[in-house]
């Protein structure tokens, strides 16, 4: 049975008064990830916004073990930790590598690819805020088409982002899922499902960022939901190679309804200078991805 909001556990593994920005979606993500793992997890975190949330020595704002790793070695560090825990017989602990989009798609990709190839027993979570947010919004490999960052042309990025779940799927790992903080019960269920699978598991999470996307902090949840409702972010999971849409994306595919992308990006300052042609190109890119996903869902 799918979890509902009232059946989510009450115990928290994140303390208030941390350094994350007001309205940061990582707080929502981390709370529900740790709830799903019941706190029985060891995290490996590279340089990222999440390190900022965890805090500075000698205090920490999370009550689960966290290792701060080097930027390119997150998955390698997690692989070693998983091997060590297994040798000690601590099989109830899940090793979670939690990195941003830079630590996953750009700097951390070789270690992640190596860990996936070795089949290391880790859960790799990428929270995708679509740029290097804690260093000043530099462009990353996951920044969407037409979005402006501090290192893109003034009118916005000219390349579409990488398709990380597809890259990981090519490694033949047992579980790949996408989830969004706008749908926390879906996120909770997927983390629990990933917890019970052995091998390398990958989760790609949408993480709206008020500071980098230039919208008001109160709209974080609305942004996460709009990203899904416009088809910009597709909720899906791939279990042993079988792809299926889940949650809101599944109901949207059944109803055949989808909001235009402009509704999602209208309130985001990072798209404010994008030309109409660039936004049309973005809409076309979203349409193509959505149709491919629905087709794949129906045929697999």
């Amino acid at each position: 049975m799918a979890t509902n909001i009232l059946s989510l556990p009450e115990q928290e593994f994140m303390l208030p008064g941390n350094r994350a920005c007001a309205g940061c979606s990582i707080g929502i993500i981390f709370r529900h990830v740790t709830k799903a793992l019941d706190g029985k997890a060891a995290f490996v975190v590279p340089a990222s916004c999440f390190t900022v949330l965890c805090g500075m020595y000698p205090s920490s704002s999370v009550t689960v073990p966290i290792i701060n790793s080097v930027f390119p070695g997150t998955a390698a560090c997690a692989s070693g930790l998983a091997a060590s825990l297994e040798r000690q017989g601590k099989t109830d602990m899940t090793v979670v590598a939690m990195a941003g989009d830079g630590g996953t798609a750009d700097i951390g990709i070789q270690a992640l690819s190596g860990a996936a190839e070795r089949g290391a027993n880790i859960l790799f979570i990428c929270y995708d805020n679509e740029a290097y947010m804690n260093t000043g919004t530099q462009r990353s490999g996951m920044t969407p088409l037409a979005a402006r960052t501090s290192t893109t042309p003034t009118l916005g990025k000219i390349q579409p982002p990488k398709d990380m779940p597809a890259i990981l799927e090519a490694h033949g790992i047992p579980y790949i899922a996408t989830a969004s903080p706008g749908y926390p019960t879906d996120l909770y269920d997927k983390v629990q499902k990933a917890r019970d699978i052995r091998g390398t598991r990958y989760m790609h999470l949408s993480a709206p960022c008020p500071a980098g996307w230039h919208y008001e902090a109160k709209d974080t949840v609305a942004m996460a939901k709009l990203a899904v409702e416009t088809g910009t972010f597709i909720l899906a999971e791939t279990v042993e190679g079988v792809y299926r849409l889940t949650g809101r994306s599944l109901s949207m595919a059944k109803a055949g309804k989808r909001k235009p992308v402009r509704e999602f990006i209208r309130t985001q300052g990072r798209f404010s200078r994008s030309s109409e042609e660039a936004l049309d190109e973005l809409q076309q890119w979203v349409d193509n991805r959505w149709e491919a996903a629905v087709h794949r869902h129906e045929t697999s």
């Binding site: 909001i5 008064g17 350094r19």
Partner: protein
């Protein structure tokens, strides 16, 4: 200067503590105020709805009826106001009721 290997510190481990980033309530310019007359959980006096608790990114809202907001650490992002289905939470300016400052009174020479 003490060399690293002579340092008294036993481990390089951090310990959990609330308020790691200070009293983050100071960051706020608007504070959330919950109206129990509109809140669904408060009206039914049972654990229902709880959307504000689920979506609070700073874990400052309790899972109780009515939910309580810890203003010491609330950063005032306003997500709870946006997700509340019955508009029971409103954002009120932090300095409401205080007299507005003007340049002459502050003695600031600008």
């Amino acid at each position: 200067m003490v060399e690293t290997r002579h340092c008294e510190q036993q481990t390089a481990m951090s310990w959990p503590c609330a308020g790691e980033g200070g009293r983050t309530g100071d960051w706020r310019s608007m504070k959330p105020v919950l109206d129990p007359a509109k809140c669904i959980a408060a009206k039914k006096d049972s654990i229902v709805c709880m959307l504000c608790w689920v979506f609070c990114p700073d874990n400052v809202i309790t899972r109780t009826a009515p939910p309580e907001i810890d203003l010491e650490y609330c950063k005032g992002c306003g997500i709870c106001m946006e997700v509340c289905p019955s508009q029971a939470i409103t954002m009120v300016p932090e300095n409401e009721g205080q007299p507005a400052l003007n340049v002459e009174e502050t003695g600031c020479d600008v």
